[in-house]
Each structure stands twice: as C-alpha cells, then as structure tokens.
Symmetry: C2
Subunit: 236 residues, 2 copies
C-alpha cells in the first residue's frame, strides 16, 4: 500500500501543492494516469482543472471522478488523489456514487492514494476528527480506513486570547468517546505509508499524538510511526 496524506494542500505564499513537491514526486513515481476526486468542493470541473495543471509537470494525466465512468478511470489509473474542502460533502458523494469501497479496494492492491485535508480525513477509519462543518449528512461517518488511527489535519496549537474550545480540547472530547489514537498534523506536514512503514514528513513543527489516558506526545518530522499501523481502535 502506498499512501501520501497531506495535512493541507496550500502553504502561505506558495502555489497549490508546491510545499509538498518532493513528497508528491516520490508518490507519483511510475504514475501516468491519476483519478482526481473533487467532491469536497462544489465546482468539480474547476477543481479538477486546478489539479491537472498542478500535476502536469509530473507528467501525470488527470481525470475527474465526476467525469465518464469513474470505475473505468480508476482501473486505468495508477493513483487516486482525493482533494480537500468539506469532509461531509466529500464522504456523502463517495457513498452516493458508490466509490468509497472501490477506492479502498484499489488502495489495498497498490493504487497510490494521495489525500489532502478532507482527503486525508476520509483515509481514516472515520471522519470523526475532521474540523469541517457538517453541512450535509453522509449515511455514515465510516470512511476508507487506509490507516487504523485518526488524523486531525490543519492542527492548530491554542491561540492566546482566542475564546471557545481549542483543537486540543476537541480531540480530548473525541478520546472521551473513542479509544483510538489521533495524530494531529500541523500545517505543512504529511504522512507517507509504504506497506508496513509509516513516516511523518514536511515541516519540522511536526505533529502531536493524542491517546486516551496519556499526555499528548510531540512527533518530529522524519519520525517513524510504523507502530501506529498495528493499533486496534475502539469507536463508540
């Protein structure tokens, strides 16, 4: 299995996906055709065109999952990229178009899976650690489960003076209900999975690992997180 899970798609002052160029190049090695899943945003054509342009320099031909027969496109592709936006809208469409199981199946058999933000959320067992607003109701929060733990993308450390719950408090509430580790990935970081190997990459600010009953653990960029692939979470 080959996964590249990005916390975010755009870094300040850089072009779309530019900050993760090296990781993308590695993930796209040997990929000639890629299916882009644009359902997290409303404008499927526009979003797909943006991605086609961004991946053109990698020599990758991009097809939108909203065009033609997406199963045929998946079968002809060596990679699938699930873009960010609203996680609830994305997951609802994946169910409505019966694409969740086919994507899970192909990722398990060697099709490269790339996700950013909402696309990273749906690579988890559920979307229960998304930051997004539940603007539509998917039939289930269950997602692709390409890793056995939860990811919180765009992780934000508490902002001094900001009222309301911090992200950390939200994740602690998740852990009150579910016994599943949450990898909180700061902006500019990504996870690379190659079969049983899992590595954190990107910005040195890294990630925080939250587990029930334990203090959050700082994870530096470059860390080997392979043991996380062995966990068996319990969802309420």
């Amino acid at each position: 299995m080959r996964l590249l899970l990005l916390s975010n798609s755009t870094a300040p002052g850089r072009r779309y996906l530019e900050h993760a160029g090296e990781a993308l190049a590695a993930a796209l090695d040997g990929v000639r055709r890629l299916v882009f899943v644009p359902f997290a945003l409303a404008d499927h054509d526009g979003y797909t065109a943006q991605v086609a342009q961004a991946l053109d320099s990698y020599g990758v031909h991009v097809t939108g999952a909203h065009e033609g027969d997406p199963i045929e496109s998946l079968d002809a592709a060596q990679a699938v990229f699930v873009g960010g936006g609203n996680t609830f809208r994305l997951l609802r469409e994946l169910y409505a178009r019966e694409l969740l199981a086919p994507i899970r199946h192909r990722a398990g058999r060697g099709t490269v899976y790339i996700g950013s933000s909402a696309g990273t959320n749906v690579a988890c067992p559920s979307i229960r650690t998304t930051n997004d607003m539940p603007i539509v109701q998917p039939p289930s929060f269950e997602a692709a489960g390409l890793v056995p733990f939860q990811i919180n993308p765009h992780y934000l450390d508490p902002i001094p003076g900001h009222m309301g719950e911090t992200r950390e408090e939200r994740i602690e509430q998740f852990l009150e209900e579910n016994d599943v580790p949450v990898l909180a990935m700061r902006e500019g970081t990504w996870l690379t999975r190659v079969d049983s190997s899992l590595t954190l990459g990107g910005e040195p600010v890294g990630a925080r690992l939250f587990r029930r009953g334990a203090a959050p653990e700082e994870i530096e960029s470059g860390a080997d997180l392979s043991p996380l692939l062995e966990i068996a979470g319990r969802y309420r």
Copy 2:
C-alpha cells in the same frame, strides 16, 4: 413559545452564565423547576451541579435529565435548559434517550427552552451549522426545530494571519448545499423568542445574517428578527 438561545455560556472573566443574567432572569420569570440536559459533556453529575449552583439565586430547582424519569421531570418543570459542549454527543444522547421529541413538544406548548452553544444548535432544524467535531455519530442531524433557520454560535470574524478556512467560508459552503438562512451569533449575544417575536440581545457586536445569494448582513443587538420565523428553508 418562549426561547432563550445563547451563543455561549461563559464570557471572559465572568462566572458561568453571568454575562446573560438579565436575559436569564426574564426567561426564568415564573419558573420554579427546571430540567437541565447535560449530555453535551461527559460528566453529567458535575455539569448539573454547576448549573444548579448558577441558577440557585434565581430560585430555580434544577433536576438533571440523566436522573430518574426525565419525562416526569419535564412534566413537573416550567423550563428546560440544554447546556453546551459537543453538539454531536448531545444530539446522539437526545435520540438514544428518546428525549428530542418530548422536548420539542413541550417547548411548543409553553415550557421555556434555554440553550447555550450546543443547546442553541439543537434548537435549530438541524445541527449542520455547529462548530463542533463529529466525535460520535447521531442517527440524524435533524434537531428540535424550535426556529426555522440555522444558528452558528460563537461566530468568529476572520483572524488575520490565521491559515485554514474562516467561519464565513464554512457558512458559505453550508449555503452552497442548503437554502436556509444562518444567523451567525458572536460571543456574548443571544436570541429571545416569545411566540412570533424574535429579538437579538447581548453584546452590541451583534450577529451576521448569511443568506444564499446575498452579501452577509450585520445585525445589531436589539434588532427585531421576527421575520426570520416565517422562512421556509430547503436542506439538501
């Protein structure tokens, strides 16, 4: 129908519910017994004790909806207060304990409904404009529908330099999918409904009203919002 819907329960530097004392006193006029719904937090006893203490000076006796027979408690009470915390956890418990319909029914027949934050979210037709993390999956996003529009509590204006989507962008995404007005209530504000009259109260910073196809509208504290009770929204 008598509703008091608070954006938040605690203002900086003030005791729990203190900032809304005047509005609370008006809502609790004639109320001797109140049922508190603590399910948005994990510690039901502790949360109920906190509310009992805060409402003691109003001469109100508080019973937790997790204690004894909640339907009997509701029948003996003149008010119900649904506290804040995680909206998904709250709504899941309201369904699991079969309390959503009884609360809706009683609010329609004169039982005062007070909500703060998550308790304000569940007074709307759905929880689709909550800010909370979907840590558990309720059977439906449909909520009590005591008003026919959506509320976004704890509304935050964009923070300069903050990466990630703004609250405004999240609400605009909601409007892409649903044709329902969203009243985005800044901290320290509340809505008071008495039958067909609806008024914004609290901090002068007020609220913003988002509608599909229109620029957001600033609403000052004190504004009469009664026309909002006439709308018929369309959810996707």
